[in-house]
């Protein structure tokens, strides 16, 4: 490993003082649960590391003005233990609980999960269905918010510029009474990387699907919203045809590949199956 400079700001003012001085080619890290294994596999080592895991501002989970704000350095363990998340957004807690092992979850952060942009990132489909915004700050101090739906550009390519740091995420607090589920298929039940994952949020009354948000991971180069499924389901009554239509529609949304974890064919089957099961349970 070549020479690397390490920056660990302990306060927000130390962090903002650093901005503008970070060398070109710096990389932001927090839990390092993705970064170190990748470096060990031979990924190019950055010139400098910016460790944001000690910044209180980035470790907060709070609700303000009808929106939930989650700092980039919030860990999976924080999410699945947060009363606010459990009560108002349990689908995110279940995604956090499915990620890695308890050991990984103690260090792995939501910012890293999204920044790394793995197609199988478990928090990505959930944040997509919540219509979350990604909050960014650049090395020259400029901030901007990008909808997560336009954040993932291609396999492990995101809207984030090289000099930009994810500071957190925000989304409108889900209304009470909605039905939601995170589903994940892995090769085993513990500490598995998703072969397919899915988040569903449904606003339904009696037998009618008023509104629906569906997103999938690990079945395309990027985690994505299943827009065809949403179009097929919105405003429709729940029946067998509803399920058939949605499961057909999902095939147009996804473009899975075969890899060591599963074949493209299997992913198409399993994506339709977890969707059908979720819809059936939502209207049960």
């Amino acid at each position: 490993m070549s020479e690397v400079k390490y920056f660990r700001p302990r306060s927000y003012s130390e962090f903002t003082d650093l901005l503008g001085q970070l060398p070109t080619g710096f990389k932001t890290v927090a839990g390092t649960t993705d970064f170190i294994p990748a470096a060990r596999r031979g990924a190019p080592y950055p010139t400098a590391l910016l460790d944001i895991s000690k910044l209180n501002e980035f470790q907060e989970i709070k609700e303000e003005g009808g929106r939930i704000l989650i700092g980039a350095a919030v860990t999976m363990a924080d999410l699945l233990e947060s009363d606010l998340i459990i009560e108002k957004c349990s689908v995110l807690a279940s995604a956090a609980k499915s990620l890695g092992s308890p050991l990984t979850r103690n260090r792995a952060t939501i910012g890293g999960n999204i920044a790394n942009a793995s197609p199988s990132a478990d928090t990505a489909p959930v944040l997509l269905t919540l219509d979350a915004d990604v909050h960014l700050i650049s090395n020259d101090g400029l901030t901007r918010q990008v909808p997560l739906t336009s954040f993932f550009k291609g396999y492990k390519i995101t809207e984030r510029g090289n000099d930009e740091i994810i500071t957190g995420f925000s989304f409108t607090t889900p209304q009470s009474g909605i039905w939601s589920r995170f589903a994940k298929v892995g090769q085993r039940s513990g500490a598995a990387i998703s072969v397919a994952n899915m988040s569903v949020i449904i606003d339904r009354e009696d037998n009618i699907c008023h509104d629906i948000a569906v997103a999938f991971g690990a079945v395309a180069p990027v985690p994505l919203r299943a827009v065809s499924v949403e179009k097929a389901a919105k405003g429709k009554p729940f029946d067998n045809q509803f399920i058939t239509d949605c499961c057909e529609a999902v095939q147009a949304d996804i473009s899975p590949i075969s890899d060591i974890r599963g074949s493209a064919d299997y992913r198409r089957h399993v994506a339709a199956n977890i969707l059908a099961r979720a819809l059936t349970d939502a209207f049960a």
Binding site: E3, I36, P37, L49, D51, S101, L103, T104, N106, A191
Partner: protein, 163 residues
Amino acid sequence: MNKQHITLNINREEYDVVVTDNELLSNVIHDTLGLTGTKYGCGTGECGACTVLVNGDPVLACITLVTAVAGAEIITIEGVAPAPGKLDPIQDAFLEQAAVQCGFCTPGMILVAKDLLVRNPHPTEEEIRETIRGNICRCTGYTSIIRAIQQAADPTICCQSKP
């Protein structure tokens, strides 16, 4: 190589060490400080052999930068026992239940069990299984490990299982 001087608090003792900026916690604990109970297994955070407690939470030392935990309270397997020559009840239970074979996973298993029993003194079997999900054992088949953690939580189990 960029070197710096940091202070680590390990097993309630302060260690002044010189580290490179990208050095791993597992290297410093095992190689620099010679606390060889912390094992280096997969190196990618899959096996749990390098588990240490950082501010009470089990963490994988092989994928943690040492600079990131400067100032934190770190406990390794060497620091679990209450006093020299004594064992923690979890260590006793691992011996009683023969939950140690090759021993490579044992430090990690005991440390995640320690964290569990601090948070939840009477875990169910399911909670124990969930806790050790990130720790791989290739010898025991896990049954004796689970029984040992159950015994540590409730010593009466020990007497029941003895012939």
